[in-house]
C-alpha cells in the first residue's frame, strides 16, 4: 500500500475519520467496561454525567483542566518547533517548588506583590529546568526525548529529598509535605462560593497569548520554520539554536505554571502526588488539539472530562479507573491516524 496526498479534501473527508476515531474509542471503552462486568451502554453516560452533569461536576472538570491547559500549551509550543519536551512533569514540579519556597511567607513582601513575583519566579524555574536539555541538545547533540524523560525521574527524587529534608512541614505529622502557603499567595476564586480559582483564567489567558505569539509574531513564524525543516530554516537565516532555546524557555515556563496553579489555587502545599502525570497527559492534550493553542483549551476540557467522569463512573459501576487512561491512549493513537487520513488516501500498489 501507498499513501497519496489529497489536494483539496472535502468536508466529509475532513470530518469522517476523526468522528470514526472518536466513536471507536467509545466502543472500545464500552467493551472493556463490559469485560469488567458493567453495562456497556451505561458507561459513557455515567462518564458524561460525572464530568458535565452538574454544577459541581463542571467545576471539578474545569479545575482538572487547568493544569492540563498549561502542560498542553507547553507541549504544543515545543512540538511545533519539533523540540520534543517530554519533561513537562519535572517543569511542573519546578513551578510548584518555587511557589512553596516564596509563598510560605518567608519574605516580607507587600501582599499585592506576592502573587506576581511567584508567577514570574515559577516561570523562570520551569524555564531553567528545560534549558539544561535544550543546551545539551544544541551543544552536544544529545536527544532531548531521553534527557527530558530522565530529568522527570531526577527532579521528582529531588523534590522527594526536599520534602523529607529542609522543606518538610514540622506540623505535617511525619508526612513528606511542605508547609502551607500564606493566604496572600493563594489564587483567589473567580466567583465567591464556587470552587474555581483564577488559575483557570490564567490558563485561558496564556493560551490566547501563545496563539498571538504563534500567529502574529516573528518568533512564532521562526518556531514553525524550525519545526518544518531545520536546515531550510538555517539556510533562510533563522538562528535555529536561538529559536530552540527560546522555545524551551517558553515551554518550560508554561509547564511550571501548571505546578504554580495547582499549589496556589487548589492544594496550598507541595506533596509528591501533586501531579498524577499532568506533564505526560499534556502530550495527549497537545496532540488532540493538533498543537493549536486555542484547541488546547478544548482538548484539556475533553481530557479532564474523561478523568473526572471516569472517577465517578468507576465508583458507580465498579470499573477500574484505569479505563480513563486506556480511553485517552486509544483516542490519541486513533486520532493521529485519523488526522493523517484526512490528508492522505491509502492506495493499493
Amino acid at each position: 500500500m501507498r499513501l497519496e496526498p489529497i489536494k483539496n479534501p472535502t468536508l466529509v473527508r475532513k470530518l469522517v475519520p476523526p468522528a470514526i476515531a472518536l466513536i471507536s474509542t467509545v466502543v472500545i471503552a464500552s467493551f472493556l467496561a463490559m469485560v469488567a462486568g458493567a453495562n456497556p451502554f451505561s458507561v459513557i453516560g455515567l462518564i458524561l454525567k460525572g464530568s458535565f452533569g452538574s454544577q459541581f461536576a463542571i467545576l471539578e472538570t474545569l479545575n482538572r483542566a487547568t493544569p492540563l491547559i498549561f502542560t498542553g500549551l507547553a507541549v504544543a509550543v515545543a512540538f511545533r518547533a519539533k523540540f520534543w519536551n517530554i519533561g513537562a512533569e519535572a517543569q511542573l514540579y519546578a513551578g510548584a517548588l518555587m511557589t512553596v519556597l516564596l509563598g510560605t511567607g518567608v519574605f516580607p513582601w507587600p501582599s499585592f506583590a506576592i502573587l506576581p513575583l511567584i508567577i514570574v519566579a515559577s516561570i523562570l524555574a520551569g524555564a531553567v529546568v528545560l534549558l539544561v536539555p535544550a543546551l545539551l541538545k544544541i551543544r552536544f547533540g544529545v536527544d532531548e526525548v531521553v534527557t527530558t524523560l530522565l530529568f522527570n525521574f531526577i527532579f521528582l527524587l529531588f523534590i522527594s529529598m526536599l520534602l523529607e529534608g529542609v522543606l518538610k512541614d514540622p506540623m505535617g505529622m511525619g508526612w513528606p509535605k511542605s508547609a502551607r502557603i500564606i493566604p496572600e499567595a493563594k489564587l483567589p476564586r473567580i466567583v465567591d462560593g464556587l470552587r474555581l480559582h483564577w488559575g483557570f483564567g490564567l490558563a485561558v489567558f496564556s493560551a490566547i497569548c501563545i496563539w498571538i505569539i504563534q500567529n502574529r509574531r516573528t518568533l512564532g513564524y521562526e518556531m514553525r520554520a524550525v519545526g518544518l525543516n531545520r536546515d531550510a530554516a538555517a539556510f533562510a537565516g533563522i538562528p535555529v539554536n536561538v529559536v530552540i532555546v527560546k522555545t524551551a524557555l517558553l515551554s518550560g515556563g508554561l509547564a511550571a505554571l501548571a505546578g504554580f496553579s495547582e499549589v496556589a489555587g487548589l492544594k496550598g502545599s507541595l506533596t509528591l502526588d501533586l501531579s498524577p502525570g499532568f506533564g505526560y497527559t499534556g502530550i495527549i492534550v497537545a496532540m488532540l488539539a493538533l498543537l493549536n493553542p486555542l484547541g488546547v483549551i478544548v482538548a484539556a476540557l475533553f481530557v479532564a472530562g474523561i478523568f473526572v467522569g471516569a472517577d465517578s463512573m468507576s465508583r458507580a459501576a465498579d470499573v477500574p479507573t484505569y479505563l480513563a487512561d486506556i480511553m485517552l491512549a486509544t483516542a490519541l493513537l486513533l486520532m493521529v491516524l485519523a488526522i493523517m487520513l484526512t490528508r492522505f488516501r491509502v492506495v493499493r500498489d
Partner: protein
C-alpha cells in the same frame, strides 16, 4: 575503604549481572527496532505489559518458559500496533511510541485490577531459580558471579551473540541494517522495507517484554505497579551509549548495572547513611545522561532512523 572491598565480592558482581539482565533484553529489543529505522518509545509500557503477562501466565498455571513466551507474544502484539501506525502509515514515532507506552501501561493495570480485584499484596509465583553451571561455577569470584544465575540471564547473554551474528553475518541482518541506513537499497534488492521494519519492531518489542518479564519471573516473584520505573528509558540511553552495537550495548548494560549494584551497597555503609537515599536513586538517571553526553560525539546514528520511507511529507 569499604567501597573497594565491595568491588571484590562475588555477590556484588552476581547482583550486577542479575540487574543487567532485563536491561540487556530490552536494550537489544530497542537496538533491533532502531537498526531497522524505527524509534520505539513504547519500550517502557511494553516492559510493564511483559512483566505482568509473564507473571500472570505462570500464576494461572502455565510453566515458566510458557510464561516467557506469553510475555513475548504480548510484546509482539504491541510491536504490531506500533509498527502498523509508524511504518505503513508513517505517523510520528515519538507520539505513537508514547501512546503505546500509555496504552500498554494502563491496560496492564486495568487487567491487573480485573484479575485480582480483592488483593492488597500481589500473590507470589514459583520464579526461576539460579542454575549453577557445573565446573564453571566453581571458578573463584567469576563462578558465583557469572555461572550461578537464573536461566533467563544466560538467555540474555546468549541473545547478545545471536543478535550480533544475525545483524552482521546474515542476509536478514544486512536487510535490517539497510532498512535503517538506506531503505532504497532494500527495495533494489526486491525486498519490502515495510515488512522488514514491521518485523524488526515486533521482534524488538517481544524482547522488551521478556526484559519486563525478567523482573517478575526471575529478579522478583511478584508484580508491582511502578516496578519497571524508568528502566525502558534507560535502555534507550544504553542503545546510544552502545553506538547501536549489541556487544557494546551489553558492556554498557553491565557497567550500568554494576554502578546500580554499587550504589545499593554504598547506601548501607557508614558513608551512605549520611546521604539522602534519593541521591542514590537519582544516580542511574544522572549516569545515563552523562553516558549520552560522552557518546554524543561518537554516535553513529542509523541514517534513516525516524525517517518514514517513500511516503512523502507528513
Amino acid at each position: 575503604m569499604e567501597i573497594i572491598d565491595i568491588l571484590f565480592t562475588a555477590s556484588f558482581w552476581a547482583a550486577a549481572i542479575r540487574i543487567s539482565s532485563p536491561l540487556i533484553f530490552a536494550t537489544l529489543g530497542e537496538l533491533i527496532c532502531e537498526r531497522a529505522g524505527v524509534l520505539n518509545l513504547g519500550i517502557e509500557g511494553i516492559m510493564v505489559a511483559g512483566a505482568f503477562a509473564g507473571w500472570m501466565a505462570v500464576y494461572s498455571g502455565t510453566g515458566l518458559w510458557a510464561g516467557v513466551c506469553v510475555a513475548m507474544l504480548v510484546g509482539m502484539l504491541f510491536g504490531l500496533l506500533h509498527s502498523t501506525l509508524t511504518v505503513p502509515f508513517g505517523l510520528s514515532q515519538h507520539v505513537v511510541g508514547l501512546g503505546v507506552t500509555l496504552l500498554a501501561t494502563s491496560s496492564t493495570y486495568y487487567a491487573y485490577r480485573l484479575a485480582l480485584p480483592e488483593v492488597t499484596s500481589p500473590p507470589k509465583i514459583e520464579a526461576f531459580q539460579p542454575y549453577e553451571i557445573p565446573i564453571l561455577s566453581d571458578i573463584p569470584l567469576l563462578g558465583p558471579a557469572l555461572f550461578s544465575q537464573t536461566p533467563l540471564t544466560y538467555l540474555a547473554f546468549i541473545l547478545v551473540a545471536v543478535v550480533g551474528v544475525v545483524l552482521y553475518r546474515t542476509p536478514l541482518g544486512l536487510a535490517v541494517r539497510a532498512a535503517g541506513e538506506n531503505p532504497a537499497t532494500v527495495v533494489a534488492q526486491g525486498l519490502s522495507v515495510t515488512a522488514i521494519r514491521m518485523g524488526s519492531v515486533m521482534v524488538g518489542s517481544g524482547l522488551m517484554a521478556v526484559g519486563g518479564a525478567f523482573l517478575t519471573m526471575s529478579a522478583f516473584d511478584s508484580f508491582f505497579f511502578e516496578m519497571v520505573n524508568g528502566r525502558g528509558w534507560i535502555c534507550i540511553a544504553l542503545v546510544v551509549f552502545g553506538t547501536w552495537r549489541p556487544g557494546k550495548a551489553l558492556l554498557g548494560a553491565v557497567l550500568f548495572a554494576a554502578f546500580d549494584a554499587l550504589q545499593i551497597r554504598v547506601q548501607q555503609t557508614s558513608l551512605g547513611t549520611h546521604i539522602p537515599y534519593q541521591i542514590f536513586l537519582m544516580m542511574p538517571f544522572i549516569l545515563s545522561i552523562f553516558a549520552l553526553i560522552l557518546m554524543s560525539r561518537r554516535a553513529e546514528v542509523p541514517a534513516a532512523l525516524m525517517v518514514p520511507f517513500n511516503k512523502g511529507e507528513r
